[in-house]
């Protein structure tokens, strides 16, 4: 009696545990809903968006390095203009990669190295004076990267004539030129390290990104890292960094013009816009540079029957883009003269965060894991 009871309950247990294992083995590849292939989406992100964008950044930085050499060999308003324009295209190229701050980029501290602003001009002048500095240390974080170049190429004179003379006639002209070139090298080297780590011929992060082990949606999976980085970038570095903080929403309503990105170069809005478009492209899965509409987050959501959510996110993104478009450069002046428009752009940017951070992550089963902890 006892024996049969025991074996029966054991049998039930075993059946319960294994019934689902047995129900339809052999069917696979159906990841989220019938038509969605997550691996293909990640491959699209990695191969058609992330790596080409890094390559474009590296190309642009190479051009900037050549322009810097030319400027150094023959400082003139013509060579300066050349260098200024390569700086601008590099900064625009940066807007296509800064949202992927995970893996190689976060290991190499790419964001803090390349684009910590507002830049510390006193520190820069101090470094030039002393000639004794190591770029890439934490203490020099505010004195390197694109914002430092922006100051050195736009901020040290009222016009290009004056700027050129700072590199030709000033007592510290050659030291200044050295600091400029060191900075260009530093940026170039940082970015190409990250680009190489992603690429298949070098460290090959791509293979790891697409490996079977990382194809889930649990913490640490490729999609989870990408989405966490993506949302954090949007919240902190676009909504707050590019628009919110300059407009004063984070400083008791007092505008902070100096906190704009590209304060000296004066094309803050253009950068913000480029960045927003990059965010939108990842959502839709649009490839770079050829602009094909491939698998993206929107497709993943649609595979879950969340067309309505996709509509909401896309229309909010469109609103955000058009209200940023309506701003005027230099943004540092707009926040002082007509800040209402900037604050309303901030609100439109904010409207994207909710559906992205709550609904989208929830539908896709992604946890926001900026910080590791147990749950229950």
């Amino acid at each position: 009696m006892n024996f049969t009871y025991r074996s029966t309950s054991l049998l039930i247990l075993v059946l319960a545990v294994f019934s689902w294992t047995a129900c339809d083995v052999g069917e696979s590849g159906s990841d989220d809903g019938p038509d969605f292939d997550r691996e293909a989406m990640l491959a699209n992100f990695g191969e058609n968006i992330i790596i080409p964008s890094y390559d474009a950044l590296v190309d642009s930085l190479n051009e900037m390095a050549t322009a810097a050499d030319n400027f150094s060999a023959d400082p003139s308003t013509a060579t300066l203009q050349q260098l200024q324009s390569t700086l601008k295209s590099s900064r625009l190229a940066w807007q296509r990669v800064n949202l992927f701050n995970f893996g190689p980029a976060s290991n190499n501290l790419l964001r803090t190295s390349l684009n910590t602003y507002p830049t510390d001009t006193a520190r820069i002048e101090e470094n030039i004076d002393s000639g004794d500095y190591t770029l890439g240390t934490v203490s020099n974080q505010d004195a390197v990267g694109f914002p430092a170049l922006g100051y050195l190429l736009h901020g040290i004179g009222a016009n290009n004539q004056e700027i050129v003379s700072a590199y030709t006639d000033d007592p510290d002209a050659s030291e200044r030129m050295q600091y400029l070139e060191d900075n260009v090298d530093f940026i170039q080297q940082k970015a190409s390290t990250v680009a190489q780590e992603w690429s298949a011929d070098q460290e090959d992060y791509l293979t790891m990104f697409l490996s079977q082990d990382n194809l889930g949606t649990d913490a640490g999976s490729s999609l989870s890292m990408l989405i966490n980085a993506y949302i954090q970038h949007y919240e902190r570095y676009i909504r707050d960094g590019k628009i919110g903080i300059p407009s004063g929403v984070r400083s008791a309503g007092v505008a902070r013009p100096q906190a704009t990105e590209a304060y000296y170069a004066g094309y803050s809005k253009e950068l913000a816009l480029a960045n927003l478009q990059a965010v939108q492209r990842v959502f839709k899965g649009i490839t770079f540079p050829d602009g094909m509409n491939n698998r993206g987050l929107s497709d993943n959501l649609e595979a879950h029957d969340e067309t309505e959510l996709v509509d909401e996110i896309e229309s909010n993104m469109d609103d955000a883009i058009s209200s940023v478009q309506a701003l005027n450069d230099p943004l540092s002046q707009q926040v002082q003269n007509n800040n209402d428009k900037v604050q309303s752009a901030f609100q439109d940017l904010q409207a994207v965060v909710g559906p992205l951070k709550t609904d989208m992550t929830s539908v896709l089963g992604i946890t926001i894991t900026y910080q590791d902890q147990d749950g229950d």
């Binding site: 309950s9 019934s19 984070r250």
Partner: protein
């Protein structure tokens, strides 16, 4: 009467209690070391500038880096002492106080299993778990007892049964049973696993896990108590907890439960474990026999040495006090999980009475909260940068839990006061999604949270999950001294057709309820109108179509 006596005061073998003590001390030591190695002491208790205290326990604050490391040292050492049975009572008291102290610092990190550990530690203080197989007995052989009153073992079975049973009761809700939520969200996370990965994405799997999980939780304690079903039930415990360990990020909890549920096994079983342990210990000692000559002769006789007094009993007064307290404990444990019924609305959404109720792995929530600050003195308006004041984890938890939003708003008020700003008004624009429902506001966006109070009362400013519209109507809006500002409702593509029109009409009606005090109108309207617009049109109107439940 006899049955009651048999389970409470009648003598029973001390073996289960002793094994329980050793295992508990062991797993707590492991957990503490793991916690420290992960760097969480710093991340959770030193790094934050603000801590979300429990209501009534605001005085529990971390006292600096050195202090908190010291407390964790106490937790680790006292778990070791519990395991070894060294100065046991003091160790149990020290463990209970230090562990509970840490848990009370910040509710961000509340986990049901931490609460469970605190309860077990509290119970361990009152039982003679050191009266055999312990350093205390080695030190003073006179302490040795073979029998203890049955309640000292059964109270732990009771506690375990409470955890499982109420966890099961909590699963009896429509989301869990009829929508397989949140299993359907969580299981596909591992769809990349070989062989079973693709099964994890099947709907049927989510339902199976949900129903099996509920059945397991409701029945397991009883199956463990009943001898004929005990063995398969324990096998189920192992399988169940290993599954949860593999599928979800829940730390040490599965192992704690696997070890502690052994207490349901018979005295003979535990006696065998102790005999094996003794034999093992003896053979180890024989290897080093020369060094441990004295120890060996002394302990080898311990088990066989007849104690002068083999039954543990308490004298009249202390028995009455401890008995009364344990009785009160039992009643409290049975009532605590039910207190959520005293509040209106869905407890999973409002979280009123959510904690300390064994609501484990019940809900997938994500949120986003924006705090609008308005300083009437300067007429300025801004938004708090949550990431500046909170750690990512704190912000994440706060963004979905109304009670934490309130605390945070109060904290912000204090911060601004210190900065010399006047009496600020703080409202929250929130969006929370629960079990894949469309995100919607959880806090009335018109309520000044600096005026709302903490406490046990029902928070009227929490918007219910079901009917957001009726909530706005009845919500505690301030007396209408100012002007009502009708906001235009954005037309959404989905609000076409008859149903769309009625919804639109309704929300237009309710838009007249949006109240803006006079003094706020200049600065406040341009932004809040927009926000409100968004809430009314995109969130509410659409979501009410989708969520007809």
């Amino acid at each position: 009467m006899n049955i009651l006596k048999r389970h409470t005061t009648a003598p029973t073998s001390i073996a289960p209690l002793v094994v329980f003590r050793v295992l508990f001390g062991f797993i707590m030591l492991v957990s503490t070391v793991r916690f420290a190695l992960k760097g969480w002491i710093y991340e959770l208790y030193i790094r934050p500038e603000y801590f979300f205290s429990y209501y009534g326990f605001e005085w529990v604050q971390p006292f600096g880096a050195l202090g908190i490391y010291g407390v964790f040292a106490v937790i680790g050492l006292s778990s070791l002492a519990i395991m070894l049975g060294w100065r046991y009572r003091w160790a149990a008291v020290a463990f209970f106080l230090s562990f509970t102290y840490v848990e009370l610092i910040d509710k961000t990190h509340y986990l049901n299993h931490y609460y469970f550990i605190s309860l077990i530690a509290f119970l361990l203080i009152w039982v003679p778990a050191n009266r055999s197989f312990s350093l205390d007995v080695l030190r003073r052989p006179g302490l040795q007892r073979d029998k203890v009153p049955a309640w000292t073992v059964n109270i732990f079975k009771f506690q375990l049964a409470v955890v499982y049973f109420f966890a099961g009761v909590a699963k009896l809700n429509p989301d869990w049973l009829l929508r397989a939520m949140p299993m359907e969200i969580w299981l596909p996370a591992h769809s990349n696993w070989p062989v079973i990965g693709s099964l994890l994405t099947e709907d049927i799997t989510a339902y199976l896990f949900s129903w099996a999980g509920a059945a397991f939780d409701l029945s397991i304690a009883f199956l463990l108590m009943y001898r004929p079903t005990r063995l398969p039930a324990y096998a189920a415990v192992i399988v169940f907890h290993l599954f949860t360990y593999a599928l979800f990020q829940i730390g040490m909890f599965p192992f704690i439960m696997i070890l502690l549920t052994l207490v349901f096994f018979s005295s003979e079983f535990h006696q065998k474990i102790l005999d094996h342990a003794r034999r093992f210990g003896r053979s180890i000692r024989q290897i080093f026999s020369e060094d441990f000559e004295g120890l060996r002769t002394r302990t080898a006789v311990t088990p066989s040495k007849p104690s002068t007094k083999s039954n543990y009993s308490m004298s009249g007064w202390s028995a009455r006090i401890v008995g009364g307290m344990i009785g009160a404990f039992v009643v409290l444990q049975l009532l605590m999980p039910l207190r959520s019924w005293l509040y209106p609305g869905n407890v999973l959404w409002t979280e009123q009475g959510f904690r300390f109720s064994w609501r484990v792995m019940l809900v997938e929530k994500a949120g986003h909260a924006v705090f609008h600050v308005y300083d009437s003195d300067s007429g300025r308006q801004w938004e708090a940068a949550n990431w500046r004041h909170l750690t990512p984890r704190q912000e994440k938890m706060m963004s979905m839990k109304p009670d934490m939003m309130l605390q945070y708003a109060h904290y912000l008020e204090e911060v601004y006061k210190e900065q010399g700003k006047g009496d600020v008004r703080i409202t929250a624009d929130t969006r929370v999604t629960m079990n894949r429902r469309k995100g919607r506001p959880i806090v009335d966006p018109t309520v000044d949270l600096t005026e709302a109070e903490r406490g046990w009362h029902d928070k009227k400013w929490i918007l219910p999950l079901r009917s957001y519209r009726s909530a706005l109507k009845s919500s505690s809006l301030p007396p209408p001294k100012g002007e009502f500002k009708a906001t235009e409702v954005k037309k959404h593509p989905s609000s076409e057709g008859k149903r769309g029109r009625t919804l639109k009409a309704k929300s237009e009606k309710l838009s007249h309820q949006v109240y803006v005090p006079d003094r706020l109108r200049d600065k406040f309207i341009p932004l809040s109108e927009k926000t409100r617009d968004r809430i009314l049109s995109s969130k509410q109107v659409k979501s009410s179509i989708r969520n007809s439940d």
